[in-house]
Amino acid sequence: MKFTAFTSQLVPLPSENVDTDQIIPARFLKVTDKKGLGDNLFADWRYDSDGAPKPEFILNQPEMRGRHILLAGDNFGCGSSREHAPWALVGYGFRAVISTSFADIFRNNSLKNGLLPIVVDPDTHQQLFSLVQEDPGAALAVDLAAQTITLPDGRPVPFPIDGFSKTCLLNGVDEIGYVLNMSDKIEAYEAARGW
């Protein structure tokens, strides 16, 4: 699937070090496909012990519905390697997460699922949280081709991404197909090592 530019309001989740056990608790990993994980995104923060939505949790606030950008605290996605975390975020409807940093495995997993991890500097990060606090309806435009998020006042903020990941996202490249096409190189490597 190709990653296209979009504009969305934000869901602010200021906690730092949100681990993948919070994004999708382990008891929901007993699946053999990717279906339905979005329903259990942030399950233990989102639902009480009877399964009823906790009204105070941000995702349960009616005006947050349909938003595609998660504005998260530092070191988002730390902990387990479960790809169920980006599957749950994408399943819920998120297309980008903005933070000051992401855990390595989570970032890799996100890029392979069309979920864009956007790293901003601490000042911009703080500005974005202030922006949402002042105007909960404020929207950002996310343009991967230009590598910018554009603030409501029209100011573009650049973000870094490596060229390969960018190309793969924009063109919907099948990375496994890309490496499968290198099979002669892989064979040559194995032969050279006698492996």
Partner: protein, 470 residues
């Protein structure tokens, strides 16, 4: 003189299959370990593209995350877990991958990061991956080993390669000597408490220094296991006589002349004098005490004699909020001591501390003592082989006589997917690796510590300092 290289650089350079400009390297993977929870969607992907597993001979599967630790002749009560296990059996059979399961070769089943080393599959200089973040464990042998997601599991199955950007290197120097009652778990908890859980992001750790050299292989695995808790996907320790001594004679280790050749090759892997790291951090073993966590990530740890920090004295706003939130979840007060804090459960096991050396340590404390009547103590061997070895040594009898449950091998209460879990509000001293909210069961509260501390706490019915007992 040749340019000096680090251990990491040597392994990386030996595994690059292709490197296009501005692209990640195509990195060859020598050993791929597979378990039931992060692989089903990857095998489905292979089927959809009509691909085979490229090197089933370099791929090994086991089941650990979701399997019950109750006697193996009982049926699997959870239909979802049973389905995942049956799916792995089918996938292994369809793709020709060796499986150490509860029905196939059950004598060798176990936690993926315990069986790799004990079978001799894990070898110095290899690249090793698994759909599990604690794959960093295997770095204890001087192998570049890291966790991957399920899309990457599919890529490795299909191509035996991964697209990887080269990480930076960080030397972790541990000087001095560990004191009585202080072990490998305290080293890594001390390190993560000192530098935080994001310190290693983008880096591979290499642990060096006399305190690391003095560790056994089991202890080195404990340290490397929790590299990911410091943010590093991989942690390395250069192979040496301790490594070779552990590996010699294991099922998949080279034998005879091939062994001698391999050892010569492995000796050359150590970081050359004068090689440069991108960053360096350090820890003093002499000053280390038994560690315990008080919060909801592994970096929220302190000396066991310490007091819980006060959010009001934390300058950074988001760190202050995080600490206050953690203490509220844990039901703890600022400045409170943890020694003497009542507990409900003790969990001894996991890929961090479920090896024979860990069980020997715990048994040493529990021998001739009794678990407090208020505590449920689970001892879960890391593998079927560990279980057998422990039973040969009589450790199971020590645990049972003390009042512990002696279980079958699996991840068990470390990830609480298999029915072994804390009830809401319960406190556990756990030898596992993560104290995240709900990690050991929804609403459960985890104090991470060493096997010695866990055993001492089981006896006391409260967080206890093992140094009073040994």
């Amino acid at each position: 003189m040749d340019k000096p290289y680090t251990l990491f650089e040597k392994i990386w350079a030996a595994h690059v299959v292709a490197q296009e400009p501005d692209s990640p390297a195509v990195l060859y993977i020598d050993l791929h370990l597979v378990h039931e929870v992060t692989s089903p969607q990857a095998f489905d992907g292979l089927r959809r593209r009509g691909a085979k597993a490229r090197r089933p001979d370099r791929t090994f599967a086991t089941m650990d995350h979701g399997i019950p630790t109750t006697p193996r002749d009982l049926p699997i009560a959870d239909p979802l877990a049973a389905k995942q296990i049956a799916q792995l059996e089918k996938n292994a059979e369809d793709f020709g991958i060796p499986l150490y399961g509860i029905r196939n070769l059950p004598d060798k089943q176990g936690i993926v990061h315990v069986i790799g080393p004990e079978l001799g599959l894990t070898q110095p200089g290899m690249t090793i991956v698994c759909g599990d973040s604690h794959t960093s464990t295997h770095g204890a042998f001087g192998a570049l080993a890291f966790g991957i997601g399920t899309s990457e599991v599919e890529m490795v199955l299909a191509t035996q390669c991964l697209l990887q950007r080269r990480p930076r290197t960080m030397r972790v120097r541990v000087d001095g000597r560990l004191q009585r009652g202080v072990g490998a778990k305290d080293v890594i908890l001390g390190l993560v408490a000192k530098y935080g859980i994001g310190a290693g992001t983008g880096h591979v750790f290499e642990y060096t220094g006399p305190a690391i050299r003095a560790l056994s292989m089991e202890e080195r695995m404990t340290v490397c296991n929790m590299s990911i808790e410091g943010g590093a996907r991989a942690g390395l320790i250069a192979p040496d006589e301790t490594t070779f001594g552990y590996m010699a004679g294991r099922e998949f280790a080279p034998q005879g002349a091939a062994w001698d050749k391999a050892v010569a090759r492995w000796r050359a892997l150590a970081t050359d004098d004068g090689a440069l790291y991108d960053a360096e951090i350090s820890l003093d073993a002499d000053g280390l005490e038994p560690m315990i966590t008080y919060g909801t990530n592994p970096g929220m740890g302190m000396k066991i004699t310490g007091r819980v920090p006060d959010p009001d004295r934390v300058a950074d706003l988001s760190a202050r909020n995080a600490l206050a939130k953690a203490l509220a979840y844990m039901g703890l007060q600022p400045d409170q001591a943890l020694l003497g804090h009542p507990i409900d459960v003790v969990f001894i096991g996991s890929c961090t501390n479920g090896r024979i050396a860990d069980l020997r340590q715990a048994a040493g404390v529990l021998k001739g003592r009794t678990v407090s009547p208020r505590v449920r103590a689970l001892v879960v061997p890391g593998s079927a082989q560990v279980k057998r070895q422990a039973e040969q040594e009589g450790l199971d009898r020590i645990f049972k006589a003390a009042g512990c449950e002696w279980r079958e091998a699996g991840c068990s209460m470390c990830i609480a997917m298999n029915g072994d879990e804390l009830a809401p509000g319960q406190y556990a001293v756990s030898t596992s690796n993560r104290n995240f909210e709900g990690r050991q069961g929804k609403g459960g509260r985890t104090f991470l510590a060493s096997p010695l501390t866990a055993a001492a706490s089981a006896v006391a019915g409260a967080v206890a300092d093992v140094r009073a007992l040994i």
